[in-house]
Every structure is written in structure tokens, then in C-alpha cells.
């Protein structure tokens, strides 16, 4: 009798199991969508393999057309203060979106080293006269080789190097005011 009762109870539980499973799946999906909306979850976001490692050295030419100085290996090996390395291109639309944030950072005294990715020097110069120049130095990565050294997916992409030239943070995609206030400002203060 009790045996039969127990089996009927477990049978009823089993009948509800698919519904429970579907509900759990729905809840997970909802949490995922919520995270994507408020930016705490990014399905395409993959952590950089360089975090905590010394920044790859770059030996690239300056972009003469912009009149800006270039930078060599020393600037990345021991910057002395936290510095941003920003990969960008004049043909890249998100770079236009990001530009005001770079300008604001530069005004606050943050040093930004630019890497002009697969671009034409004349176009790069035109871009900077039109939108302003946030870079203290600029080099050209015409072939995209430096991009691969940094594990770049695409432009824009920004790396934070601490005073010893160790990569502390990477942001793939345009920097937004939210990115600055939620992440970069804190990191800049932490490594200052």
C-alpha cells in the first residue's frame, strides 16, 4: 500500500519535471537577456590572453601626415604612468562613436598611444583634424601585424597598461561614457 502510494507520488513528480526544466531554462534565458541589456553579460566578450602580461613590443613607423610623433618599444616597456593603447582607423564607424571619450580622457591628462590600424595616412590625418586629436603619439599598423600581437579582433580596441607596461585591461569595441565610469576610471585611479 505505502509502496504504491510512493510510486504514485514519484510519478506525479516526474510528470511535472519537464515543466520545471522548461521553467528553469526560461529563467536562465531571461537572466542572460537582462545581462546583455545592462552590459554585465556579453556573449561575444572573451577575456584577453594578455591580461597580467607585459604589453607586446611594437616597432612601427609614425604617421608623418598627422604631424604626431611615433612611439617605440620603451614607451610600452615602462610608461611610468598608466597609459592607454588605442587601435583605431578612419574607416571604422564605431571609432567615431568612441572619439569623444578619448578626447575627454586626453583632457583629463590620460596619455593615449594610438595605433592606426590598416588605414591610409592621409585619411587618418583628415579624421584627426575633423574630430580632434586625443593621441600623444601615433604609429601606423598598415598590415595589421601589431593587431595580431595584441590579440585584436577588430577596431576600436583599447588596452590599459600600468606604469610597468603590464596589460591590466582590454576593451573590445567603442569606449562609451558608461565604460569610463564603470571600469576605466576606477582602473586608472587604481594604477595611477
Amino acid at each position: 500500500m505505502s509502496e504504491a502510494k510512493r510510486s504514485s507520488v514519484s510519478r506525479r513528480a516526474l510528470m511535472w519535471a519537464p515543466l520545471g526544466l522548461a521553467a528553469a531554462g526560461g529563467l536562465g534565458f531571461w537572466a542572460m537577456l537582462r545581462g546583455m541589456q545592462d552590459g554585465s553579460y556579453d556573449p561575444r566578450g572573451v577575456p584577453s590572453a594578455l591580461i597580467g602580461k607585459p604589453a607586446p613590443r611594437l616597432a612601427l613607423p609614425a604617421v608623418a601626415e598627422t604631424g604626431l610623433p611615433g612611439f617605440g618599444e620603451a614607451a610600452l616597456a615602462s610608461p611610468g604612468a598608466p597609459v592607454l593603447v588605442n587601435f583605431w582607423a578612419s574607416w571604422c564607424v564605431p571609432c567615431v562613436v568612441e572619439h569623444p571619450q578619448l578626447m575627454a580622457l586626453q583632457k583629463r591628462g590620460v596619455r593615449i598611444l594610438g595605433v592606426n590600424y590598416k588605414d591610409k595616412p592621409a585619411d587618418a590625418a583628415k579624421f584627426l583634424t575633423r574630430y580632434g586629436n586625443p593621441f600623444s603619439a601615433l604609429v601606423a599598423d598598415a598590415e595589421g601585424r601589431a593587431g595580431i600581437e595584441y590579440g585584436l579582433y577588430g577596431v576600436p580596441e583599447t588596452y590599459l597598461l600600468d606604469r610597468d607596461g603590464v596589460v591590466r585591461w582590454r576593451w573590445a569595441g567603442p569606449l562609451t561614457p558608461d565604460t569610463l565610469s564603470a571600469e576605466l576610471d576606477i582602473l586608472l585611479r587604481r594604477h595611477a
Partner: protein, 150 residues
């Protein structure tokens, strides 16, 4: 006329099969090694294709890098490690075993052992429940009679 029509139809697929000859290494052995390596590397832009299958710019750059390193005489492992060091575990289409990927690899084992355990338990319970009922005295007497007859 009809033959020409079919030949024209086939033409584009032929050029596709050849691929991008300018990218290929002249040495077929090296080229096939490069393809082997490239098929194991994820295109980070499209994410579900290997760099050999993808037409993205970054995939093309990585293909070229792989071929240069193969042509320079590096081993398959060294070439793969060169890109792994820059792009992390995600670039490998076959994920390596480490603490981060351990749950991924352990999941099938856990599911299979869990299933096996559930199966064993269900069988045990069924066996306990469905043993034949003991014989009543009348049945026992009848059985003795039957056995005597045979």
C-alpha cells in the same frame, strides 16, 4: 550548346574549389600542414568558423601568419602556440584541458555516471517490489501433488 551551358554553370564552383591560389604555399606538403593548423583555429570575428573557412579580414591575416611560420620551418605545435598565446583558449576550436574548461570536459562523464546510477537504483527498486508472492498452504499442497505425478 547544352554542354557549354553546363560548363558555364560549373565554372564558379571550380574556381571556389581552387580557393585563393595567391595565398597558398608553393610546397603542397607545407600547404596541407598549414590548412590542418588553420582548421583548428577559430576565426575570432565570426566565432563559429575556422580561419580556413572564413572570409573575414582577420582570418585572412591569421592564415597568412600561419603560412609564414610553417614556411619558416616551425612545428605545428609552435605555430598553434604562437596564436594561442595572443588570443587565448577561445581561439582553439578544440578546447584544452585546464581548470577553466574542466567543467566542460567533465559534464559528459557526470551525465553518464548520473544516468547509470539512476538506472541501477530503478532496477533495484523494481526487483525488490516484483518478487513472486509466497505460496499459500493450498497451493503448496497442489504443487506437491503435481510433482508427485511427474
Amino acid at each position: 550548346m547544352r554542354a557549354l551551358f553546363f560548363a558555364l554553370l560549373l565554372a564558379p564552383s571550380l574556381t571556389l574549389a581552387v580557393g585563393r591560389p595567391s595565398e597558398m604555399l608553393p610546397d603542397p606538403a607545407q600547404e596541407s600542414r598549414a590548412q590542418q593548423i588553420g582548421r583548428e583555429l577559430r576565426c575570432m570575428v565570426c566565432q563559429n568558423q575556422s580561419i580556413e573557412d572564413s572570409e573575414a579580414d582577420l582570418a585572412r591575416d591569421l592564415r597568412r601568419l600561419v603560412r609564414e611560420r610553417v614556411a619558416a620551418g616551425e612545428s605545428d605545435v609552435a605555430v598553434r602556440e604562437h596564436i594561442h598565446a595572443r588570443y587565448g583558449d577561445f581561439v582553439l576550436l578544440r578546447p584544452p584541458f585546464n581548470w577553466v574548461t574542466a567543467p566542460l570536459w567533465a559534464l559528459p562523464v557526470l551525465v553518464l555516471t548520473g544516468g547509470a546510477l539512476a538506472l541501477v537504483m530503478m532496477r533495484r527498486r523494481a526487483a525488490r517490489r516484483s518478487g513472486p508472492a509466497p505460496l499459500t498452504p493450498a497451493e503448496r499442497a497442489r504443487l506437491a501433488k503435481l510433482e508427485d505425478e511427474s
